[in-house]
């Protein structure tokens, strides 16, 4: 029996209703491609409504639905109305889904990117963040709500308030947080939020999106068919069609909608879950692992190293010898590692979900203890 601890990449298992919804959708007549009408049911509109309720958004139609958070981040960054020479502030905690679009924009000479370091637990320091805005006029601030390497949750409201005080637009990456911690971008003053459906929202892969504040207009990075306004050479001006070119992933969004309903009916006991994660983290540390343990609010991501062993070797033993599916290396966030205390070559990451059991955590701690006590060889 495999023990799945790679939920920060993709959550598993999903609630059974998710699988059923995907299955049922495939056996159902396809939707009406935005043609509307009183008898039309759109799973996309249903999903938008559920997401808007989750994030306390005033208008579900400000959410464009697409394939994942990278899709949303690319739409946000590559469609943002930059002027040549604009400055973008971001952090070393970011995923390549932010770093690579920004790199492209910088390579094209459109923007200058300032990357501020995070602390040795992976959290954005408010003073460092503020200093970036006092030093220069910043057009766009981009940051992750939670580190996918350490689990440290950033104070998105505070960081947004700082950036907004200096006139910057704010893009928040909620890939690692939505479904786990409160996330209310409109309340916080965020301008854009990208999210994915297949992590802690418990939906299928191939679902995600971008919420855009109604006062901000992006140039659609992707253009194409929308089912309506076909007589216009341009994308429709109205959201969400403005950013949704091509046929949507109806089956997977049926699964995501089911997951959102299930999660609402089965709310996560965050206190117990957090206690469980802390106990797990402490168990790994007691076994001798060098655990990155941020204070305060965290997602259930536990990164560690073992002195004298490569992350790859630790991952090999956990996965091949103990059937614990984990992730080793840089976790697609290559810059954060130089800020972490332990090394610059990555970590072993165990990421939990609400379905992870105490017994599974004990097996993982036992495996790490075996490895530390006895050595690799």
């Amino acid at each position: 029996m495999k023990i799945y601890m790679n939920n920060a990449a993709t959550s598993f298992p999903k609630p059974e209703v998710v699988a059923k919804a995907v299955y049922d959708d495939i056996l159902t007549l396809p939707g009406a491609a935005n043609r509307g009408g009183v008898e039309t049911f759109s799973v996309f509109d249903q999903t938008r409504q559920l997401l808007a309720e989750l994030m306390e958004l005033s208008n579900p139609n400000d959410i464009a639905l697409g394939s994942n958070a990278s899709w949303g981040l690319n739409l946000a960054l590559l469609g943002f109305p930059f002027n040549p020479g604009d400055i973008v502030v971001t952090t070393t905690a970011e995923h390549n889904s932010i770093l690579r679009p920004l790199h492209r924009l910088e390579q094209n000479g459109l923007v200058n990117v300032i990357t501020i370091p995070v602390d040795d637990k992976g959290r954005i320091d408010a003073d460092e963040w503020r200093a970036a805005f006092t030093a220069q006029k910043v057009r766009l601030a981009v940051f992750t709500h939670a580190s996918n390497v350490t689990g440290a949750v950033n104070d998105a409201a505070d960081l947004t308030a700082i950036a907004k005080a200096y006139g910057a637009t704010v893009l928040l990456d909620a890939s690692q947080s939505l479904g786990l911690v409160p996330c209310t971008p409109e309340v916080w003053g965020v301008d854009m939020l990208a999210f994915t459906g297949h992590k802690y929202l418990l939906g299928p892969q191939g679902t995600g999106g971008l919420w855009v504040h109604p006062e901000l207009e992006l140039t659609p990075y992707l253009v194409g068919g929308t089912g309506v306004y076909s007589d216009s050479p341009d994308m429709p001006p109205e959201m969400p069609l403005h950013l949704e070119a091509g046929t949507g992933n109806e089956s997977s969004f049926s699964g995501l909608a089911a997951a959102l309903i299930w999660s609402r009916e089965n709310p996560l006991d965050t206190r117990s879950f957090n206690d469980f994660m802390m106990t797990f983290r402490e168990g790994l540390a007691a076994a001798g692992a060098q655990v990155i343990a941020p204070d305060g609010l965290c997602t259930p991501v536990i990164s560690f190293i073992i002195d004298g062993m490569s992350c790859e070797d630790v991952g090999f033993v956990l996965t091949d010898s103990y059937d614990i599916i984990c992730r080793t290396g840089l976790h697609c966030a290559p810059l954060i590692h130089k800020n972490l205390r332990y090394n610059n070559n990555g970590t072993v990451r165990l990421s939990l979900s609400r379905f992870t059991t105490i017994e599974e955590a004990e097996i993982a701690v036992s495996a790490v203890r075996d490895l530390i006590d006895g050595g690799l060889f």
Binding site: F316, D320, S321, G329, F377
Partner: protein, 92 residues
């Protein structure tokens, strides 16, 4: 020995790790592997493992009871180390 090889990727662009599915268990291959270098084993883990480092920097490891071995070649001379190991493997 007939084997099937597939590249195993990780975070680093220059990683040169390959997995080989072999006809026997890795444990059965140990006597032959020991001719290439000092084989180390760890029997205390849930599924015992083995590993060895070759003189050219190639690292070989796997689960003793399984028929897949993982081989990491030195990036600066993978073009010679990989054919050399595969030639050796095909002869055993």
């Amino acid at each position: 020995m007939i084997f099937t090889a597939a590249k195993a990727r990780n975070c680093f662009a220059n990683a040169e790790t390959w997995e080989y599915a072999i006809e026997s268990s890795a444990g059965d291959l140990l006597p032959a592997l020991s001719q290439l270098g000092k084989v180390r084993t760890n029997e205390r883990l849930r599924r015992p493992i083995f590993g060895l480092d070759l003189a050219d920097g190639t690292n070989i490891k796997g689960i003793l009871a399984e028929n897949i071995i993982k081989v990491s070649y030195p990036e600066d001379h993978v073009n010679t180390a990989k054919p050399a190991f595969e030639a050796w493997l095909s002869e055993h």
